[in-house]
């Protein structure tokens, strides 16, 4: 019999092995024993721009579409694979036409997205925004590493 389905380099009797466990059978017991490494850095901290430089594009932007009941997360650039893996693991899905990640609009998902990216929610409506709010509707937000926000 084989010993499962896993990744391991070198000897199968020593070293690191990566495998997958179903939560159906050992949910609480398994999770309680797991060590949790430091979360991956979402994005590199950008270098401080010069004073006269134009306002940089935010590293991530979170949009809430109440009419569709969805949350949308857009990155200015493709994030690291670790970031995308964590998003996917949390149930977010990639929309290729929209070039953004989306999930259901629930309080838990909103809290996750805000903690994950460190950005504030921007509500998007079909009605045109007032003129004085247009300029501040999309706040510039910097995505900080997890360690820096603790």
């Amino acid at each position: 019999m084989g010993r499962g389905f896993y990744l391991q380099a070198g000897s199968t009797y020593s070293g690191w092995r990566v495998c997958k466990e179903s939560l159906q059978y050992a949910r609480g017991e398994l999770l309680a024993k797991l060590e949790v490494p430091a979360p991956p850095v979402v994005a590199e901290l950008p270098a401080a721009p010069p004073a006269d430089a134009p306002t940089p594009e935010p590293a991530a932007r979170l949009e809430e579409r109440a009419d569709r009941g969805s949350l949308w997360l857009r990155f200015a650039q493709r994030p690291a694979d670790a970031t995308l893996f964590a998003l996917k693991g949390a149930g977010w899905r990639w929309s290729r036409p929209a070039m953004a990640w989306y999930h259901q609009l629930t309080p838990a998902n909103r809290v996750f997205a805000e903690q994950f990216t460190g950005v504030t929610t921007v509500e998007e409506t079909d009605a045109p925004a007032p003129a004085e709010e247009t300029s501040s509707a999309l706040p510039v937000a910097t995505v900080l590493p997890f360690e820096a926000r603790r």
């Binding site: 990744l7 990566v18 159906q24 797991l34 949790v36 490494p37 893996f85």
Partner: protein
Amino acid sequence: MQTLTAPSSAQAVIIAELHSNDCDYQSDYFNSKVCRRVFLGWSTHTRDLFAEMRKAAATWAETAHLGPGCGTFYARVILRTDLPHSNGGAMWKGQSSPWHTELYGDDTGNFPRDGRVFTTRAAAEAWVATQPAPESVWNGDVLAEFGWEVTGEERNIEHPREVLDGARVLPAGR
């Protein structure tokens, strides 16, 4: 210790286990013990997919050598010519050179017999590009010529489930 709460969409968890050797070879006993279990990520399904495991492995430094594109690759010196011996034996073209193992040495002082070990093919090829051509050797009346070769593949760190008859259950797409 930080406690984990599975998202509602999660059906499985991808973990890294550190195994330590617990074998007693003299009594033909083979076993390993799990020293640490580390959370790597959630999965929304229970299918066993190496691509998904590799992405999870790449998110942590200790298991980064199991990430996408990684495997076990060897840079070694091979024979370019056949070497027949007078006693009837021979060394054939493509065999590893027994005269150049000193070139495989690393900083730890080890000289692996099968070649210098790398995690990615690109790293192995880059190292070979920096090495001089292996010296030729006179073996009797024949001048043996050698060259560098990179062997190994990504799949040799993948351990699929096996069934009783030894056949492998390959993932989809193979």
